[in-house]
């Protein structure tokens, strides 16, 4: 088994220095000036240790120096090195180059945060990847819960994969006190195939809710003549698929009577499409903070929302659970719209299953 390893050595620098992220060399310099140390290397070494404990025969393939070699050796591996010479400090371009260079592995581990995940996404990896959480911002679904978990998941990988969303915040906005997550795409990750021994027969076989079940529920409730606005995200895209069309992952689509009538539309086009019709908006939760509006779906603007009769949110129960009781957030840019949306919204969690869940204007909730 060959496991690729890429470390973003500056990931996590900003957090320690109170800088809310480490994107950009200026910030990294500032962080180092404040005395921060990178923890990505340590976290990556912990993942390698866990990997080798479970699979002593695994070969770690990595990048010379701080981008992997050092961590691999610290974790007890004799790594195979790719012919790369990254800069010092390394850049986003180095990460992308490393992803492309480490194409012949079973799983590619990368240590970093959401920014690193975006770089990996941009490089278009041809193999399953899995993040070792080491950044300040780790909101994407492509990360394991901890370094040891990442190493073990790689060790136990047996070919089954799933898609995970890559989400990142605008760090400038974040430093200014606003959380602005955005969906950038999906990465292929090893399916966490936890075989549950907790199968007590005293219980219902309650399997995790599926995106397909959610999509089926949305489609089953669609009424003729209504214009349905589908926001970005893999769950909303599944609705399009259930209707037999592809739709977009990152854009806003509109369907009516089971047929797509607008794909990846702008606010202007959206207003035209819904004009004079009953309108329903179907959106999903973007990122771990609970944003459903105003993040990556600005096309669904206050003007559009003023025409929406019914707002439905889509989320698996696991995703709602991950909010830990925090509310869903609306941040449309118009306080009056946000206030109007406040209250309980119907969250579809499966076929004939829903959860009434609180949604509040983002301004009322301190996040980050």
């Amino acid at each position: 088994m060959r496991i690729g390893l890429i470390v973003n050595p500056v990931a996590g620098l900003g957090g320690a220095a109170g800088l809310k992220g480490s994107d950009g060399t200026e910030v990294q310099r500032e962080a180092l000036a404040r005395g921060a140390t990178a923890r990505a290397g340590e976290r990556a070494a912990a993942a390698v240790r866990a990997l080798l404990a479970a699979r002593p025969d695994a070969t770690v393939v990595t990048v010379p120096g701080a981008m992997g070699e050092a961590a691999a050796r610290a974790g007890g591996a004799e790594p195979e090195l790719a012919a790369l010479a990254p800069g010092e400090p390394s850049s986003a371009g180095d990460t992308r180059a490393a992803v492309r260079a480490l194409a012949a592995v079973d799983v590619l581990l990368f240590a970093g945060g959401d920014g690193t995940a975006r770089d990996v996404l941009d490089a278009g990896p041809g193999v399953p990847v899995l993040g070792i959480p080491a950044g300040v911002k780790v909101y994407s679904g492509c990360f394991a819960v901890g370094p040891a978990a990442a190493g073990l998941a790689a060790a136990e990988f047996a070919g089954s994969t799933t898609e995970a969303e890559v989400v990142d915040l605008d760090e400038q906005a974040y430093r200014e006190g606003r959380v602005s997550p955005r969906l950038y795409g999906t990465l292929t990750v090893p399916a966490a195939r936890v075989r549950l021994s907790g199968r007590k027969t005293g219980s219902t076989t309650a399997a995790p809710t599926t995106v397909e079940g959610i999509a089926r529920e949305v489609v089953a409730r669609m009424r003729p003549g209504v214009r349905y606005i589908l926001g970005p995200g893999s769950t909303t895209r599944a609705v399009g698929r259930a209707l037999g069309s592809e739709g977009t992952l990152l854009g806003v689509d509109v369907v009516a009577d089971g047929v797509p009538i607008g794909i990846d539309v702008s606010e202007r086009a959206l207003l035209d499409l819904v004009d004079g019709h009953e309108v329903a908006a179907v959106v999903s939760v973007i990122g771990g903070q609970g944003f459903v509006l105003g993040r990556g779906n600005q096309q669904i603007s206050p003007r559009v929302l003023a025409r929406v009769h019914e707002l439905t949110v889509l989320a698996t129960r696991e995703k709602l659970a991950a909010l830990g009781g925090r509310p869903l957030l609306a941040d449309t840019g118009d306080p009056a719209t946000d206030a109007r949306l406040g209250g309980y919204v119907r969250v579809v969690t499966g076929y004939r299953e829903s959860v009434p869940y609180r949604i509040v204007p983002a301004s009322e909730e301190s996040v980050g």
């Binding site: 199968r199 027969t201 076929y351």
Partner: protein
């Protein structure tokens, strides 16, 4: 006295534990229960019987008011059958390890997994089908679930059900299949078998019983299977496994799902408490995916030569198409499955054949003898009967009451004029003759 079932009710221990936690009294733990919801009086229950001896006496007095089927001569069947229960069956299911185990995990309860795997495996041999579930509640539930499986499998919503089915079972099916599935009845002919019927492409399943509620064995099953299959419907058959030592397994006649109750295989009648259901199919993944119940399978362990067990196709419940009409899986009837396995291992192929032959012969004998009594008419006399047959007796209640005086429970009352008589290997020729004599006597 510290109650023998409650070790920590002992005051000193209780005080020590409260002190360790750092609270004054157990009342502190109940702080979340508002005063308005408290029951501020002791429950109004009979005074406790805290000595075991007195409890035995109390229960003995209650049990003494029952007359059981070892005291009276009983020909009662109709879904609950008086077959002989081998002593080894009782011995195994009384073992404390099995009796008090939870549903279990593959490591702590390996023995339980193996015993149930062996049970389903022996059923599979009897049924000639490759997939058999961990027991469900009872034969009623097994039929309900088998029909729901057929509806999900075919995507259709009508089932054709033989009218030769017990009224209680039909009641359960009506309740359990609502609101998704509609039941249409197949009438029964003079022979006691299903009448001719047609199948269209709304039909998910044709459902037969084998033997049916009149003890009649459907002899046209293979034809009916072809009829159903020609229109894309499944044949679902509820079969009593005790008959399959002599009767052809329904699968060999074209049945797609076979189900039923295993009470006959080593469970006492226990006033209706000995029931457990089974469901079996061929090993086709799409059909296997429709089982709501657990399936156990062999898996290798880290040590060569060691059998491990686990759940087969566990994640099938997450399949999107299963989300409609999803059924629950709960504590059902595992110990009766283990017991039925012991029964089949004791009987072996020869025992099952011999038992079947004895029951067939004695059933026919009882039919002939009773049928010869004036005023008694055996229904469906031409049919092949296993274990049961219906007789018209004029006033059924009067006959039952009169025979009760002879310590005979003559049969299950089907209606004002009809009884269902059950004969098993427990009924000797003499027992049958006693019944016939008594009927003649009270009729005479």
């Amino acid at each position: 006295m510290t109650h023998p079932y409650i070790p920590n009710a002992e005051p000193a221990v209780r005080a020590e534990m409260l002190a360790a936690i750092g609270v004054e009294s157990v009342e502190d733990f109940y702080a979340d229960i508002p005063a308005a919801l408290r029951l501020n009086r002791p429950l109004d229950l009979p005074a406790p019987i805290t000595s075991e001896h007195e409890l035995v006496r109390h229960m003995g007095a209650l049990l003494g008011r029952n007359t059981d089927t070892t005291e009276a001569l009983s020909f009662l069947g109709g879904g609950c059958y008086p077959h002989h229960v081998p002593a080894v069956c009782d011995e195994v299911n009384s073992r404390g390890e099995f009796l008090t185990a939870y549903a279990g995990e593959p490591y702590e309860d390996h023995g339980r997994f193996q015993a149930i795997f062996e049970y389903v495996s022996m059923m599979a041999e009897l049924l000639e089908m490759d997939v058999v579930n961990v027991p469900t509640y009872d034969g009623f539930q097994a039929s309900g679930t088998a029909l729901r499986m057929a509806a999900r499998y075919t995507g259709r919503r009508t089932v054709l059900v033989t009218a030769a089915i017990g009224a209680d079972k039909l009641s359960k099916l009506h309740d359990f299949l609502a609101p998704d599935i509609e039941i249409t009845m197949i009438p029964v002919t003079e022979t006691g078998e299903a009448a001719a019927f047609t199948v269209d492409d709304t039909v998910a399943a044709v459902y037969l019983e084998y033997p049916n509620a009149y003890g009649v064995v459907e002899t046209r099953m293979a034809e009916i299977a072809e009829l159903a299959h020609a229109r894309g419907a499944l044949l679902v058959v509820s079969a009593d496994p005790i008959a399959l030592g002599v009767l052809a397994p329904p699968a060999t006649l074209g049945a797609d799902i076979v189900c039923g109750d295993i009470q006959s295989l080593g469970m006492h009648q226990s006033y209706g408490g000995g029931h457990a259901g089974y469901i079996a199919t061929r090993d086709e993944p799409r059909l296997v995916a429709e089982f709501p119940s657990r399936l156990f399978g062999i898996a290798p362990t880290a040590v060569p030569g060691e059998y491990g067990f686990g759940d087969v196709f566990y994640d099938r419940t997450s399949f999107a198409l299963r989300e409609e009409g999803k059924e629950w899986v709960g504590t059902a009837a595992s110990l009766w499955g283990i017991t039925a396995g012991v029964y089949l291992a004791l009987m072996g192929p020869e025992g099952m054949r011999e038992l079947g032959e004895t029951v067939l012969a004695r059933t026919r004998y009882a039919m002939d003898e009773l049928g010869a009594v004036p005023g008694v008419r055996v229904l469906h006399p031409e049919g092949v009967h296993f274990r049961e047959f219906a007789v018209e007796v004029g006033d059924a209640d009067a006959l039952l009451t009169a025979l009760r005086a002879h310590d005979i429970f003559a049969g299950v009352r089907l209606d004002a004029g009809t009884l269902l008589v059950c004969v098993t290997e427990r009924h000797s020729k003499d027992d049958i003759d006693t019944l016939v004599r008594a009927v003649r006597e009270v009729r005479g």
